[in-house]
Amino acid sequence: MNHEEALKEWDLVIEPQSSLLQLNLKDVWRYRDLLWLLVKRDFVSFYKQTILGPLWFFIQPLFTTIIFTFIFGNLAGLSTDGLPQPLFYMAGITAWNYFADCLTKTSTVFRDNANIFGKVYFPRLIMPLSIVVSNLVRFGVQMLLFFMMIGYYAYTGANFHLNAYVLLFPILVLLMALLGLGLGLIITALTTKYRDLAFLITFGVQLMMYATTVIYPLSAAPAAYKWVIELNPMTGIIEAFRYGFLGEGSLTFQTLGYSIAFTLIALVLGVIIFNKTEKTFVDTV
């Protein structure tokens, strides 16, 4: 009697091995309330006992922008494709932060939740999904700041052009979320056995930012290293993001197409590996 047949007679069949593609997405849907409650938990617990509350979401990108403007803009004099420097950096930082938060937080999901996972069953995928959604709230708040800045520079008549490609925005957000999620899932699954990766990820993400077009435009990248930067799937996304909102950037359908393909592969691979690991990680973590 195989798994499907057995399920007709029984509500639940527990077996040692199941096929790689049996992802139990139906189960994930059944637990959607938990997803929302976890997001609410993250949001509420973030600002409890703080004076500024959700304002803290503003402070980090704001200060990073100021520092980047000072160091990379004024001291190093890196090109910003003719855009106002704060606007250029803010666009890069906001988008990058969302991806980086999704990636770093999902990459420790097994370790952080080992206690809960060891005591109660629910579809494990709920946890990383809730992280991606929680970060979306934070990203939304930071986008508000970015919009305020756009408003300010539009008022002062600075040189940038909001254009129709801004309609790609929802797709870009989805891509960043799924890319962070997919890579994070792969890493968290591997860290249950090999803890080394946890160390790699913390500075790996920092280094990766410099291989992405956050502090410089792709057009200003040295030709010898340009292929490395283009190999980075986040480059296409950030360039498209900047092009839509600010009218400068290298948006080509090859780079964006590459980012989409990379994201989908990382996501599918991540979900499969995660799903395989979740069944036994309690014994190895």
């Binding site: 057995a6 007679e9 029984w10 509500d11 639940l12 069949v13 527990i14 077996e15 040692p16 637990y31 309330d33 938990l34 929302w36 409650l37 976890l38 609410k40 938990r41 509420v44 617990s45 409890k48 006992q49 206690n115 809960i116 996972f117 060891g118 005591k119 109660v120 069953y121 629910f122 056995k193 090999y194 803890r195 069944k279 036994t280 309690v282 014994d283 190895t284």
Partner: protein, 433 residues
């Protein structure tokens, strides 16, 4: 088969002992190569051994569960018993899908709610109310369901007043009350409960047991319950599974399973005389080990059996290592559940020289204990029950084990004492021999 709720077939779970996670990439590669490419047997899954935590095995692989087969009918309340490490928790973990079995299969009919720990996922910063929702959702409830039951849950928990206070301000008792209240209101056909009642005060424990009884008897739901509290199992369950070293030793009516579990509990059952290393000595003052316990021997009884009227006579041998001129002997008799049924201290201090073996005979006359298995703890020190400064120099656990069996049934009156109402007579109990 129609009313089978849980069917377990050939279930085994293997654990690798020792450290997992260092230097395993090469092992993993080797394993992958041998099993997937060469189609050989898994080199690291050597023939396992039975799971006995006390004996050091040869291989670093143990069967936490081995070839478990059983069926549980709908509406049964099944108590799972066994010594520490017998596989009880592993079994519950597999049934609750926290981990997967190595081999075998489990078929389950109905929704499973498992409670391996109370308050899983409680967030200290959130209020009681927020945590009810979060914890409920983690346990598998939908938001609507929680909305509907919220008042009932708060009422059951008895912490209405603090419901909008963050749970980090709760006392541990309140925390547990709230957590159990959520779990008690899960709507599931099968409820799995691990030793969770050990926390909370007596009143709340009673309430929990009552609720669980209601769940199994009143609502006809299936309950699996692990506990070391024999009384709770007896009260709650109609069936019992006795696990021993990862295998089912007995599965049947609860009393049968409990009897065979209890008969295995004292390991030193067969030994009447215990010497040196067999005795577990706790030195209360390890720096000045002043008393060394040498041996204890049970000389009364027919084997280990005593009838309810028979004296219990124990010979103790010890020596003083320092100059304590006066000391007294104390003893405690414990029921199988680990509860004391009685303690006694000698009032007359025993004088003696140090470095010389001293032998005493402890006699408990006409004990009148209830039927059952008992063990004896001995302490040697100064001070007795009437003085406040009791100082135990050494405490020796499990000096002797005996079983009270009612033998003379010809008597008109057969006493059936509850262990709590047993009594011991104390007069002239100690003799220097």
């Amino acid at each position: 088969m129609s009313n089978t709720a849980i069917k377990v077939e050939n279930l085994s779970k293997i654990y690798r002992l020792g450290e997992i996670g260092t230097g395993t990439i090469s092992r993993d590669m080797e394993r992958w190569f041998k099993t997937k490419v060469l189609k050989q047997e898994d080199p690291f899954l050597k023939i396992g051994e039975t799971n006995d935590r006390a004996n050091k095995g040869m291989s670093d692989i143990v069967y936490s569960l081995q070839d478990i087969n059983f069926e549980i009918n709908q509406g049964d309340a099944v108590g799972i018993i066994g010594r520490n490490g017998a596989g009880k928790s592993t079994l519950l973990k597999i049934l609750s899908r926290v981990t997967t079995p190595t081999t075998g299969k489990i078929n389950i009919k109905g929704r499973v709610a498992s409670l391996l720990e109370v308050g899983t996922g409680f967030h200290p910063e959130l209020t009681g109310r927020e945590n009810i929702y979060l914890n409920g959702a983690i346990l598998g409830m939908r938001k609507r369901e929680i909305d509907r039951k919220l008042d009932e849950i708060i009422d059951f928990s008895g912490v209405e007043r603090y419901i909008d206070t963050p749970v980090k301000r709760y006392s541990s008792g309140m925390y547990v009350r709230l957590a159990f209240a959520v779990a008690a209101h899960l709507e599931s056909e099968i409820l799995i409960v691990d030793e969770v009642l050990a926390v909370g005060d007596a009143e709340f424990q009673k309430k929990c047991l009552g609720k669980m009884g209601e769940v199994s008897k009143g609502e006809g739901r299936t309950v699996l319950f692990v506990s070391h509290n024999i009384g709770a199992i007896q009260q709650l369950c109609n069936k019992g599974i006795f696990l021993k070293n990862g295998m089912i030793s007995e599965y049947g009516l609860v009393n049968g399973a409990l009897d065979s579990y209890l008969s295995t509990v004292p390991l030193n059952n067969a030994i009447k005389k215990l010497i040196g290393k067999d005795l577990k000595q706790l030195h209360k003052n390890p720096l000045t080990k002043s008393v060394e316990f040498i041996s204890s021997e049970l000389i009364s009884g027919d084997g280990l059996f005593h009838s309810e009227q028979q004296d219990i006579i124990l010979i103790l041998e010890f020596k003083r290592l320092n100059e304590i001129k006066l000391c007294r002997i104390g003893f405690g008799i414990l029921a199988i559940t680990g509860e004391y049924v009685g303690v006694g201290f000698t009032t007359n201090y025993l004088s003696g020289d140090y470095g010389v073996n001293e032998k005493y005979q402890l006699t408990i006359k006409n004990p009148g204990l209830a039927k059952g298995i008992y063990s004896v703890n001995i302490s040697i020190g100064t001070g007795n029950a009437h003085e406040n400064n009791i100082i135990d120099e050494v405490i020796v656990e499990n000096c002797a084990t005996f079983e009270i069996a009612y033998k003379n049934h010809q008597k008109e009156l057969i006493p059936f004492w509850n262990p709590n109402s047993g009594r011991i007579h104390l007069n002239g109990i100690i003799d220097n021999i």
